[in-house]
């Protein structure tokens, strides 16, 4: 239990560092790790200055309705966002629609949401998928909900920055149109990653281990930011901050 909590906290700290250069980060209500990371970065460095938790009432400052997120992205006012996918391939194409031949997908997943749009407009899109397996990280997705790359005639201000899983962090190299292994989490190994990744990617045999979280940052998360995370993601907070009594955070 504590190990899993520690792993999740490490992911939160890693993502927080990736958001430090942002002014405004939007995250989904059902994305507790990215959401906690954005809240942590704001608490640690004051940047991102704006963190918008979509679907939340108290932590969402949009006042223009459900469309404002998309307009805001098109205005260049959202610096980072997170996308997942039932399948992600080596060209950073993502599939949120389903496995098999569309339209009779089996299984069918929820659908494309805003990915086919936001992936084009938000500069730093971080692909985040905890399950790292040949089922999720595939050679070629069955359905392109949103393409990782576009040709030169396509208006595109944003795209994939990297891919974070429970085993590793990859950076996406837009020139080479491939992922490059950036670091390996302490619970995994290069061999484990090669075994469980369905697409080919660049790597060095000396690929470093993912650095452990900075103790001060971890301390901040466990102390100050814990309350904020619990406000937005109560169930998640229960799981990763086991000392948090449910009474203390009941609404």
């Amino acid at each position: 239990m504590t190990d899993i909590a520690d792993d999740k906290k490490a992911l939160i700290c890693l993502i927080a560092n990736l958001l430090r250069d942002c002014n405004h980060v939007a995250v989904g209500a059902a994305s507790p790790i990215p959401g906690a990371a954005a809240l942590l970065a704001k608490a640690a460095w004051g940047t991102p200055r704006f963190v918008n938790i979509l679907g939340s009432v108290a932590n969402n400052f949009f006042t223009g309705g459900g469309g404002e997120l998309f307009d805001c992205a098109a205005q260049g006012r959202i610096d980072a966002f997170f996308l997942g996918g039932g399948q992600i391939d080596g060209q950073a194409n993502i599939n949120l629609m389903g496995r098999g031949d569309y339209p009779s997908s089996n299984p069918r997943w929820p659908g494309t949401f805003g990915s086919a749009y936001l992936y084009f407009l938000i500069p730093k899109v971080i692909l985040f998928r905890e399950e790292h397996s040949r089922r999720t990280l595939v050679e070629k997705v069955d359905f392109i909900s949103a393409p990782g790359l576009s040709d030169n005639s396509t208006y595109r201000k944003g795209g994939p920055f990297g891919l974070l899983t429970s085993k590793a962090f990859f950076r996406f190299d837009k020139d080479k149109k491939r992922f490059r292994l950036e670091s390996i989490h302490p619970t995994s190994s290069l061999e484990d990653i090669l075994d469980n990744t369905g697409f080919s990617f660049d790597y060095s045999k000396e690929a470093p281990l993912t650095a452990p979280p900075d103790p001060a940052l971890l301390e901040l998360l466990n102390q100050e930011v814990r309350e904020k995370v619990a406000e937005v993601y109560p169930n998640f907070a229960e799981a990763i901050f086991p000392m948090t009594s449910s009474a203390a955070h009941a609404k």
Partner: protein, 276 residues
């Protein structure tokens, strides 16, 4: 004042939504009229064209499971942390509903085109996706203001017959308070009319203060109102209610099988007893 405003039951309200209607419905967090949804199933509505703005959840899942839906147009159907929607998944696998899969901003853009009375709205992104390849309505045009090649997707207007949702309050004139949920305003402007269930009636005008007025959908756009306290149950409501977690888990359990889903309908829809 909207017809049937004072004395209508939720079943009469649902009777006014005809078979085959194109109905715009909000996402699970924005005020779903689950009370009207159950009444629609009781009245055995057929061939609905649902437009999930921009996504849907339990509402579409139940209507699809109960055989009320011909077409589902949206950018997702999600039950969030409860997992894959069992009846939707089955309908897709078996091809029993027609899918018009979009992406969130395109649903908004299609509604805004209808709201503005224009045939289409251009929209960035989308190019190169299989959503574009499979969408029956979208077209790629050249940006008329660009000198170089600059393709852009043209999203045709989506005009629902009815925008259907739940809101906290209506007043006696038929104005409805929607707070910050402006997608409900867009939906209603885009649709031919809006049908709204509300928790309660305000005896004073919602235009009485500028604070309240800023979040009002004017009566001009509202065709029917029905009082249905806690009408979004078991879904959460931005104006206070939390999701009924136990009920959602029970639904997921029952809806795994066809008979379980029928039992759910019998128990919670046909013989409705909504907790207060």
């Amino acid at each position: 004042m909207p017809i049937g405003f004072e004395d209508g039951s939720i079943d009469e309200f649902a009777m006014a939504i005809p078979d085959g209607a194109k109905v715009a419905i909000p996402a699970d967090y924005a005020g779903v009229s689950m009370a009207a949804t159950r009444a629609l199933i009781r009245r055995r509505v057929k061939n609905l064209h649902l437009v999930g703005v921009p996504t849907s959840g339990l509402q579409a899942e139940l209507l699809i499971g109960a055989g009320c839906v011909k077409t589902f147009e949206s950018s997702a159907l999600t039950l969030g942390e409860y997992g894959p929607a069992p009846r939707f998944t089955k309908a897709v696998r078996e091809g029993t509903i027609q899918l018009v899969d979009a992406t969130c901003p395109a649903i908004h853009a299609g509604l805004q085109a209808s709201q503005k009375g224009i045939p289409f709205m251009p929209l960035r992104g989308i190019l190169g996706s299989d959503v574009l390849k499979n969408h029956p309505g979208w077209k790629v045009i050249q940006n008329p203001f660009a000198n170089n090649k600059d393709p852009i997707v043209a999203i045709p207007a989506i005009q629902p017959d009815i925008a259907l949702f739940h809101a906290p309050l209506a007043d006696r004139e038929g104005n409805v308070w929607i707070g910050r949920k402006r997608e409900l305003v867009n939906m209603s402007h885009a649709a031919k009319t809006a049908f709204v269930t509300v928790d309660a009636i305000s005896e004073t005008s919602l235009f009485e203060t500028e604070e309240k007025a800023a979040g009002v959908l004017p009566a001009l756009y509202v065709g029917k109102i029905c009082v249905a306290p806690n009408g979004s149950w078991p879904l959460p409501f931005w104006n206070g209610a939390e999701v009924d977690d136990a009920h959602m888990r029970r639904y997921m359990e029952m809806a795994k099988s066809d008979t379980g889903f029928q039992n759910y309908l019998d128990q919670f829809v046909m013989q409705e007893s909504v907790p207060a």
